[in-house]
Point group: D2
Chain length 430, copies 4
């Protein structure tokens, strides 16, 4: 890069960095101090922890190796806010994150601001320009990774908070819905019947090619042979899911994977997470509090077993992640890359909206595995993705909780088949 271009690029990077730092804090605005510490289960980290960990990430992988005269903000934060990087040391026990009343919220914000400032200092003209080009590149890559990492935590912040609030019989609302976010069953239009979109058999290139940001697990681009298939033009709705329930979907073992049937019986499950049946019908706990279930909105908060059982009941199946990717690659125009804050709840209002990127994550039948020739990132940051390539299923898409500029058609999300607290729904294939 020439100096001028480099300067402009760095300028843009700093701006995106600051925007992403700001968004995390904006998302916390509606919280009471008491809300910051909630952790109902190991998976649903406290808001305060997200705020701290997304700073820890820069401190550990960027500031510590590269900032001149680096001193940690606090000696023990490396331990306290490490998520799962064993190469950095033994992380503080995940299920106990909610027990850290100290540092306080205020102290964590101080930590956060110190780190943000240090990142900007690191990029500062004179010192940065004197570094070797390789080092400059690594620094820029790490900041980019930090931004993308924080975007992931912005979505997790919302799904974790939702789960944690749901434990409270008062059903707290994260915020009040605006006039356009009203939740009456009439507020969402009935979608058209599903149309089937064909994919021809043949060899397709999948995964991310080299330009633009992508996680290591999206790489390398490689060939996949796909048989002929068809994918549904839109996700399954709550109304369709209610038919599955009415048809005894949750009590008919034939529809379920063996492990799914065990899960269902052990946990006595008969409907998606967050559904609450009151005297006057079904309600759904949302980030706007308890709201009437929207018949025509995409079903969400189902796990892999539920998605798979529904598909079997419907006489169809789930797509593989590669079928999904080919399908999505033809709908790139539906990507909305510029919005201030995520809309918080799925709701398809345009008849031609396939709901592919911005409604719910969609379970695929593909287990999370490495692509041929996969290379994890170097060093401790290599633990980011690769070590989770077992026992989890790939979800594709993006959701109403994903921040702006985070989603792309090669993006691979992954969760355990039992997980339900993510914004997860389904799209049929056959």
């Amino acid at each position: 890069m020439t100096n001028t271009i480099a300067a402009k690029f760095k300028q843009q990077l700093m701006q995106r960095f600051q925007q992403s730092r700001q968004l995390s804090e904006d998302l916390c605005q509606p919280l009471e101090t008491e809300d910051y510490g909630l952790q109902a289960v190991a998976e649903t980290s406290p808001a305060k922890w997200h705020i701290a960990h997304t700073s820890w990430f820069y401190e550990t992988f960027l500031l510590k190796p590269f900032l001149n005269n680096f001193k940690p903000f606090h000696d023990q934060y490396e331990h306290l806010f490490n998520s799962y990087y064993n190469a950095i040391g033994q992380p503080f026990l995940r299920p106990k994150r909610g027990l850290l009343s100290r540092p306080t919220v205020k102290q964590v914000y101080q930590y956060r601001q110190t780190v943000s400032q240090q990142v900007l200092t690191l990029l500062d003209q004179s010192s940065f320009e004197q570094r070797e080009p390789d080092e400059q590149k690594t620094i820029i890559d790490r900041i980019e990774l930090g931004i993308q990492h924080e975007k992931q935590h912005q979505e997790l912040f919302l799904t974790d908070l939702k789960y944690n609030f749901f434990q409270n019989p008062l059903y707290p609302a994260y915020r009040q819905p605006s006039a356009t976010e009203r939740f009456s069953p009439q507020s969402v239009i009935k979608p058209d019947a599903i149309k089937w979109q064909s994919i021809e058999a043949g060899v397709y290139q999948c995964g991310q090619s080299s330009e633009g940001f992508g996680f290591d697990n999206e790489r390398p681009a490689h060939n996949q042979y796909l048989e002929t298939s068809q994918l549904a033009s839109r996700p399954i709705t709550n109304g369709e899911y209610l038919q599955f329930i009415a048809d005894k979907g949750y009590t008919n073992s034939i529809l379920w994977l063996s492990d799914g049937w065990s899960w269902l019986q052990q946990n006595n499950v008969s409907h998606p997470l967050y559904w609450v049946e009151l005297k006057d019908g079904w309600y759904e706990f949302t980030l706007f509090g308890l709201q009437p279930l929207l018949e025509h909105a995409p079903v969400c908060h189902i796990n892999y077993y539920e998605a798979d059982a529904f598909a079997r009941w419907a006489g169809n199946r789930l797509a593989t992640e590669f079928e999904w990717e080919v399908y999505a690659s033809q709908r790139i125009n539906e990507l909305n890359t510029d919005f201030a804050e995520p809309p918080l709840h799925p709701s398809i209002n345009a008849p031609d909206d396939s709901g592919i990127f911005h409604q719910t994550w969609q379970w695929t039948q593909s287990s999370y595995a490495q692509y041929p020739g996969f290379q994890p990132n170097e060093g401790a940051v290599g633990e980011y993705n690769g070590k989770f390539m077992c026992n989890q299923m790939v979800l594709r898409g993006g959701s109403c909780l994903s921040p702006s500029q985070h989603i792309r058609h090669t993006y691979r999300n992954f969760f355990y088949p039992t997980d339900r607290w993510q914004m997860s729904g389904l799209r049929l294939a056959k």
Copy 2:
């Protein structure tokens, strides 16, 4: 009672009520808002819950049945802050108390103050005087019970907070020790050797006779035949307990009850709770943070199995609760009924202090059971004590965490043999 005496009595009751309400709030002064929600295990309730539950108790057992035009502060608080009274309805799940970020601390204090005001209103001259004498008596008894109940929660507030803070690698201090509370090993004098105090064989009256407040489980007064026995003149110290450890006390199965040995092995226990071994020796987590272990202070935070094993190792045994009561009845003069706040950590500084009432609770070999002729309190409040009379052991005494005017020689505390988070120590008998 004549009217004048009654008025004075009521005046004193109101004063004691207000003092006890105030103490709970004073004890919360050192807390950050974030600290109010901590609950590491089901047993260690959040500070906020204690503050709310001690108000719920008056609301449920006093205001609801007796206050004219009573309206609850909030419809769901009856459910949220019920501890274990099944007759009142299904209590909110105990292990999830820490997940109630709402109501906020501020709202809970509003609830608390509303209840306090309503109790005072109930006692107000004109309306109170018009009630039937029986009803007046019940009201006064319930307020007295409420005061005693709150005193119990003041101690639990401290033991729960200590346990919850201990989960944090930062070892937060509840407050800083004052100059006279310094924690150097030299600051506590070496106690004299144990002397043995004899109790003659014979029939003794035990339990509380009718005057003065006592819980239902201390009644009725009744006869117990005691064989000749001897009790130690002081509790066991940390230094003596270190000898037990040095002598392989924790690895010699012969010293342990069968269930105790299983507990020890499953939990890999080798020292009392809160002891931390660093490079330069033993430390103990206290309400003043991590402090050097005081050799001459009474050992605390051991469970029944540890107390029993130590006693067997020493060639002695634990006292029965009746032996203890007879012993303590001869040391009533050691009761200190007038101090502002509990001293927070055990420390015997006077050579003639038997440590019977104000250092640590002392495990007895008596399981918690009903006295002959036991009658639980009437109504839902009858669940207060009676239903726990199984699987728990009686502790006698009182501790450095017990509030003023709470302890008496007939008082029966009770915990499971595995419990360690209370201020529990031991006194030998033979």
Copy 3:
């Protein structure tokens, strides 16, 4: 003792030894080889293990220290068949006893017979007479203890087998009932209404005085002060227990101890163990297979919580173990010390039978604890009783499964409050 008396005494001891060894084997007669290995839960040891362990007991505590030129039958049996004596070494894991297909049944019987023969050899005139009197006494005491120990295991053999068989949907019968053991509801007469037997207040001597065999936990004899009480003239019947169930006894929390209510809810309990409700009414699994529930027979296989809840429902309570002992001491004439094999199921057929010794064990409200001045047996055999003196409740009586000459009015049985697989019932007190 003079030589002649000693010889006669030894003769009798050898006879009783052989009878007890024979009875264990007789009790195994109805078993198939496959039945010998069953162990459904840790508590219910396999028949083969009982047969081996009752030989191990003699080998370990008698033959190893006293038999000249002793060689163990097999090097590893000391480990395999040790129940819980930590001083002997780490016992083989209790829950895995059922996984020892080897040694085979045949090999275990060979082991058993070798041990029996060695015990007789040890008592053989010439060698035995040359020992010191103290050693002679120890040997005789250990044989006596071995006989009593084996009697305990004869009852456990039956209760364990019953539980293990119950896991099988074929409901195997241990043996077929004879004509007089028929199980029609008409075969047991309706008992008279309960009469109340008074015990006067005062000091009573309890526990075993020095003559005759008694376990260490029955000693020493000591004084207990008892308040006035009354005990029921007979145990509670199935018919009476059905009234408790019909009156929603299992869903009314007020009737239950707190731990009992938790147990009930976690295990979804609504009737005694072994009760099976079929289309035509209640059945009960017995050692004679599945049989119609006998309305007038004593209720059995209830745990402490159930016994306690029933008593509370009935407006009464359970007796203390000392009340029970005083009551039983007045009914010594009901002891039947001479029968071949236990009758296997409770059934009171005589109007004047108080059912005190031979029907079901009766839960008392006393937790299992040491008597004042308790001294466990010396050496490893001291682990026999003392180390279990925590968390368990005393049952008094004896049962239809207890072998002849095993029961006495000072006998203390003890089990956890949750245990139901013993032949446990209840007698009311007030």
Copy 4:
């Protein structure tokens, strides 16, 4: 088929049926009656259950629908010996199979022989020939499936028994090794260094084409695009695995998948299953009892996490199941389809033996999933394979425990990543 060919085919089928029935019984010859009931964990079914279930399979899927005047041998066996076919009814609880002492071994053999006879009766000339061709085909297919099903259980019988025997400190041997099966470290030759066999990039047809028996999960044949890869010429040996251990393979978190690391820590794992370290070195529990570990034999009884960690340590990876299949398709000549009984322990003695089919199953990096166009078998037998397509990993190959004529290069075995009790090893890829 013409009648003559059909008759000959049927003749061969009957012969293979009888051979497979006989082999199961021959494999049981070394057992004591006591051994038949062992079940250490839910996964390791008792020998008796295998003997019964392989008869149940014919009874349920063949005799019940097709045999004229069919009457079940016993009303409850359908329930008792159902493995996991929910469409047939609620199976008896898997973890409790070892608690079924009844029916006895003898009775189960009677059941088995009755079923065998009924299958032969069904194929009997006159009645069989009168059936519709479709029905004839279904019957023949079901018998073929029954034979293959029984072959699977013959291998499971051995792996289950091995695990169950291992619980016994006596280390029972299933049978004694012959002279040629001797287990000295010198008895197995050192293999050559691994050579790498290349697979070219391109589209390959995988899965079973229509001729010959194959399970539904091997079908349909379909295309897979493979990148260039190389597979190792032989499996990893115990000696090589010892190097991994010596290099701290079990304590270096970087080598492990996240779930694998959790598994390792929770279970305190430091070596393969069945390895026992004695004073004079490593031993391995085998079906011949405890034997010195063979340095040059293939490592076995490792789970997916261990295989994956070893491969990462070696700088390689595991093959995908399709890479493996292409590799194996070029070594069909190594298939040995004609031997009497499996050799019971892996041992490569020929320098040119790739160990692909008859040593150990080889973990692949492929999760068990449906092939494109997968159709499960029709009816209840459709639960055979399809419902397990989640959370499990594919193993390819065959083992020293696989019976004759069972293995083919398209065969897909599948187990959970934590499973170790199968004869599972690894082959490297890169």
